[in-house]
């Protein structure tokens, strides 16, 4: 993904001008989307989880998954040292093996962007910053926008924003739409480029699959480049059925508008086995176009080491212990 693209959202906006004219027209549109049958959705997600892939493909899938990881530290106790360590790991996940690819990005709080940026230099690993009063999103709009601008000015390539779940659940969809659109504007840089915007739904708080589908369309219409399940601070975080709904949404959105939107499950994905289940789901729902770090990411902090262990196992035939991999 080039962190500088600005083209996509404007036209998407045009297609849905009538829809976003008023709260009621937006509600009509979102509630007119096909519903989701919970049992059927979960059965399909479970079915996709049983595919078995080739050993050669597995090696390829592990490397792809590593390249899709947004290596994340989002803790109150984060320090410059911790973030520098994380950034180093993102560039060289396996110091013993130079063929191991780098992760897609490191994901940090806005005040840590400059630290991460400095450490990453020109490595190509992006810096993603959570902004907009993450994780609750409970702050005044100007504060959320300031939070975003601050991260972008510090050099963030990608902004992970949270939507106002309170507004969404009380049916104020237009407020949520405008919030996303405004944050997107705040992602603009003086040189005309823009940081990429990932929109976090916190699906564990939205509760229903119908809500997940509506939130997906809302975020895509508002110009989000990526839709993301969770902050990682609320359980349940990413699940296969929730991700399936979001993948169906981006697939259908592309059919209608020609535009691709990325998907990022975040929180709770810990094992290679799980990651591969997600990749199978991407492949069978959206097709190969989405099997790319530009269009699919894992928001994870512990997944990477399991990927590295499996990767080593595939090359050496042996499992090694956790002490053979860096903490971060």
């Amino acid at each position: 993904m080039t962190a500088s693209s600005t083209e996509s959202s404007a036209s998407a906006h045009g297609v849905f001008d009538d829809v976003v004219r008023s709260d009621s027209s937006l509600r009509r549109f979102l509630h007119g989307l096909p519903g989701v049958d919970q049992v059927g959705c979960e059965a399909r997600a479970a079915g996709l989880g049983t595919r078995s892939i080739k050993t050669t493909s597995k090696a390829w899938a592990i490397d792809l998954a590593i390249r899709m990881v947004d290596l994340t530290t989002l803790e109150g106790q984060d320090t410059h040292g911790k973030v520098r360590a994380l950034a180093s790991k993102a560039m060289r996940p396996d110091p013993a093996d130079p063929t191991c690819p780098a992760t897609a990005a490191v994901c940090v709080y806005p005040d840590m962007v400059s630290v991460a940026k400095q450490q990453l230099g020109h490595s190509g690993v992006h810096v993603a910053a959570v902004a907009t009063a993450f994780p609750s999103g409970r702050a005044a709009m100007d504060i959320k926008l300031a939070d975003t601008r601050d991260a972008v000015e510090a050099g963030a390539d990608e902004i992970d924003m949270v939507i106002d779940r309170g507004a969404f659940l009380s049916g104020r969809y237009l407020d949520v739409f405008e919030e996303i659109a405004q944050v997107k504007e705040a992602c603009a840089r003086p040189d005309g480029t823009s940081a990429h915007l990932k929109v976090i739904f916190e699906t564990g708080e939205l509760q229903t699959y119908d809500n997940v589908r509506r939130a997906s369309w809302l975020a895509m219409m508002a110009g989000g480049h990526f839709i993301k399940t969770s902050t990682g601070k609320v359980q349940p975080a990413a699940t296969l059925p929730v991700t399936l709904i979001m993948l169906e949404a981006v697939r259908d959105f592309r059919e209608q508008t020609g535009q691709m939107v990325g998907v990022k499950p975040a929180g709770g994905i810990k094992t290679t086995k799980d990651a591969i289940k997600y990749l199978v789901m991407v492949n069978e729902t959206c097709g190969e176009d989405w099997l790319d770090p530009d269009w699919f990411r894992f928001g994870a902090s512990t997944l990477l080491n399991d990927l590295l262990m499996q990767r080593t196992k595939m090359t050496t035939g042996r499992y090694s212990g956790p002490d053979y991999f860096t903490l971060d």
Binding site: G35, G40, S57
Partner: protein
Amino acid sequence: MTSPFEYAPAPESRAVVDIKPSYGLFVNGEFVDGSGTSFKTVNPATEEVLAEVAEASDADVDEAVKAARRAYTRVWSRMSGAERAKYLYRIARIIQERGRELAVLESIDNGKPIKESRDVDVPIVAAHFFYYAGWADKLKYAGYGDTPLGVAGQVIPWNFPLLMLAWKIAPALACGNTVVLKPAETTPLTALLFAEICQQADLPPGVVNIVTGAGATGRAIVSHPDVDKVAFTGSTEVGKAIARAVAGTDKKVTLELGGKAANIVFDDAPLDQAVEGIVNGIFFNQGHVCCAGSRLLVQESVADEVMSRLKRRMATLRVGDPLDKNTDVGAINSAEQLAKIRELSEIGEAEGAERWSAPCELPSNGYWFAPTVFTGVTQAHRIAREEIFGPVLSVLTFRTPSEAVEKANNTPFGLSAGVWTDKGSRILSMANRLRAGVIWANTFNKFDPTSPFGGYKESGYGREGGRHGLEAYLKGADN
């Protein structure tokens, strides 16, 4: 697929199954040679001959019925329900223990994908034995009395060989009857393995007898004067012949015959799940399902959208080696059945319906048919009226709920139907108006031992499964 992201051939090992070069009949607790000729059973995915199987002659059938009568009179009907239950529980547990073996053998002999035989057939088979074991000592509470009928002659089809065996044998035994069962000539192997399980469970000799053979053997069972009850699952044509054969006798009969089920998709349906349900409705078990959702009735306002989603989904179906865990659609059960599917599909084209088949590679050996959908089908087309019994879907459209009901009911059959809508009240009103034995809402092809199954009109009579399934094997409270 050009992506490096390919699914592995993940074949289940055949080593768990020991297929003998030849099989006899299972009569009076022992395997015996048949007096008739023998026939071959083949693996439909490879055309490999699996085994020679004895064809039971009239004399063999007579021996089996005699054995069943002896076991009925001397042992089984005198045993308490609680004692019978112990045997049924034991059989159920052995089925679970040997589940892998049964699933692999079923897939080899039938052609169905291992993920269906392993995850659907065998678990439901075990569940049926567990369920009816639970009824054996509680028959008085079911409301049909507790007097068994005697000897049951049972003839089952090739589409769910083991499952249909369970549907027949479990309630019969629970009620105190003994059985003579004939599996289909193309899929006899799991029934013969089940015979071994009966031995392993120390089931008294003669309680279950398995005779193999084709139509003549089936006729011998049905027309045997000492058979008290006939249970048949299979084609409507054979079902009618059976009904004629037993007419005027005092034999009780249940028939589970063909279907041409309507799967009705309303414009407010959960579309992505509806598409899964359509796929499951017609491509599950290669469409070799009597209650398959072979007529898709889709509301005109969403017809195009549903069709484009369905075709996209069908393109991801993996057709091939039934033993591969990644296989979604397996082999057609026989050359004869494949010829019938091809013939009806050609008729569909000749009648002017538009044919679309999933772009999948088919293996060169064996019997294969790509998942296929016909659009532009009307009630007047033969493919909308006749049972194809293969992975072929006919798509019709409707405008209003009333029209959907009329079209759905406008068929000689009435086995099952499906309704897809987000509206609960519509589900209930449709279920009241559809003339079908089973109506699924927002799902399809789901089976459960506690739920009765059976049809209207040319789909047969009687119910299997659930409390209702006991009625067919008891004399009734009044007798």
